[in-house]
Symmetry: C2
Subunit: 262 residues, 2 copies
């Protein structure tokens, strides 16, 4: 196997295990608390991230690991894994099954392997650079969209308005909401999955950390779609990104609609 195939296989095996960790916690109950930024963290986040770190560290001790909840492991080479153990913690704590685990491998900063696994609805997408994109075992390719009328029939997935407010960009959010009839808030990895599968024409997600978008980048590009970073800034010493992904003409349309002068 090529290195990338080995890394993808490892990532999928780790995701099988983390799906199990999440399902066990959901079945038995778990505790959650607010972090300083008023976001939630749960026992599940911590257990899943520890599990990923143990498994990746055991298999690839020279690789770095960045995760949402625990201490960074520095890379002794080109490869760094980025992990969001539970993307959509608010969904998890509320009993909305649209949360997931995100695992990506960066090669000198560029995502080359990505896995998005949603155990609550038994859905998974993955890709390795140059090897295509897969959803639930089937290779996927995004259909194109012909014209503006067809774009109006698409669903546009967006993150929650509070994410846009947090970066001072609620105006573009509201403008998009007003300008397209099919805008729906499908936050976190579920929105990304919809865009990767072409169920949504695009996903618009602002204020992300790198582990929130790294898997989507390689998966949507391997599916024939586009991924664009349309904004970057530092908040509390941490880099945040505004991203669009999906079918090329829809992403273009959304960008124009959001950036248009009011």
């Amino acid at each position: 196997m090529s290195d990338l195939a080995t890394f993808l296989t490892a990532a999928l095996e780790v995701a099988d295990a983390t799906d199990g960790v999440i399902r066990t916690h959901v079945a038995s109950g778990f505790s959650s608390r607010h972090k300083a930024d008023r976001s939630f963290v749960t026992d599940v986040d911590l257990a899943v991230e520890q599990h990923v770190r143990d498994e990746i560290g055991r298999r690839f001790p020279e690789h770095g690991i960045l995760g949402e909840e625990l201490e960074d492991t520095t890379s002794r080479g080109d490869y760094t894994w980025v992990v969001d153990p539970v993307d959509g913690t608010m969904s998890l704590t509320h009993g909305i099954p649209l949360y997931g685990t995100l695992i990506a491998l960066l090669d000198r900063g560029e995502p080359v392997v990505g896995v998005i696994s949603l155990p609550g609805i038994s859905a998974r997408a993955w890709a390795a650079r140059g090897a295509g994109a897969w959803v639930d075992g089937e290779r996927i390719t995004l259909r194109s969209v012909d014209d503006d009328e067809a774009i109006m029939d698409e669903v546009i997935a967006v993150g929650e308005r509070r994410q846009f407010v947090a970066v001072g960009l609620e105006e573009p959010f509201d403008r998009l909401m007003r300008s397209h009839p099919g805008v729906r808030v499908y936050c976190d990895c579920f929105g990304h999955l919809l865009a990767i599968r072409g169920a949504a024409g695009a996903m618009v997600d602002y204020g992300l950390r790198i582990w929130d978008w790294a898997p989507s980048r390689v998966i949507v590009e391997e599916a024939g779609g586009v991924f664009e970073i349309v904004g970057e800034r530092e908040i509390d010493g941490e880099k945040r990104y505004d991203v669009l992904l999906g079918k090329p003409p829809v992403v273009e349309w959304v960008k124009r609609a959001m950036l248009a002068e009011p």
Copy 2:
């Protein structure tokens, strides 16, 4: 068995069958087209509604049946079934698995049995008046919410903005979107299911026909929640309803936020 228990059992058996009809169509592919009002109708809608009509008509020939797609059957008594074969047709046609079949029985206009079945995510809620509410085989009761701070941590599910635009009420939609950080567009029966399960504190859904809300009414009330019709009008000779459902204090909060003067 009491009459209501008989009717509920029948509705659940019919839903088992319609889940199968939908899954078969999704697996094999189906065609869809725009209706005059630009909404979608598919072969799946028609096949499911015909199936429900055949099964209900065979079991209860004296009952009436109203459905979204086919000719009404008049009741020769107190009971009328209302059916939305595919609630969330746009989700179905786009490959978003959050659509479902809605079946309710009205006794002189009042919902007394309700079933909401989402075969795409294998989820189901049901109730019969006086017999409690059930989700996926477990009896459910809505937790209450203590204070305004806790209300801010709830998820508020809303229908798509276009539904509010269609009835000229986009201002209350936009006001709610701005006033609560956890507003998410979870359209159709998935939003209703979230409110019934308490995953969302409330569901806000405007411009509905009776089959869109009849099952939710009996299910959420049997779960200890509230259901309110906050607006009614006729559009093209058809009655449309604006509804709120969920945990009593959250529904109250949402009503105040939407109706507040700007």
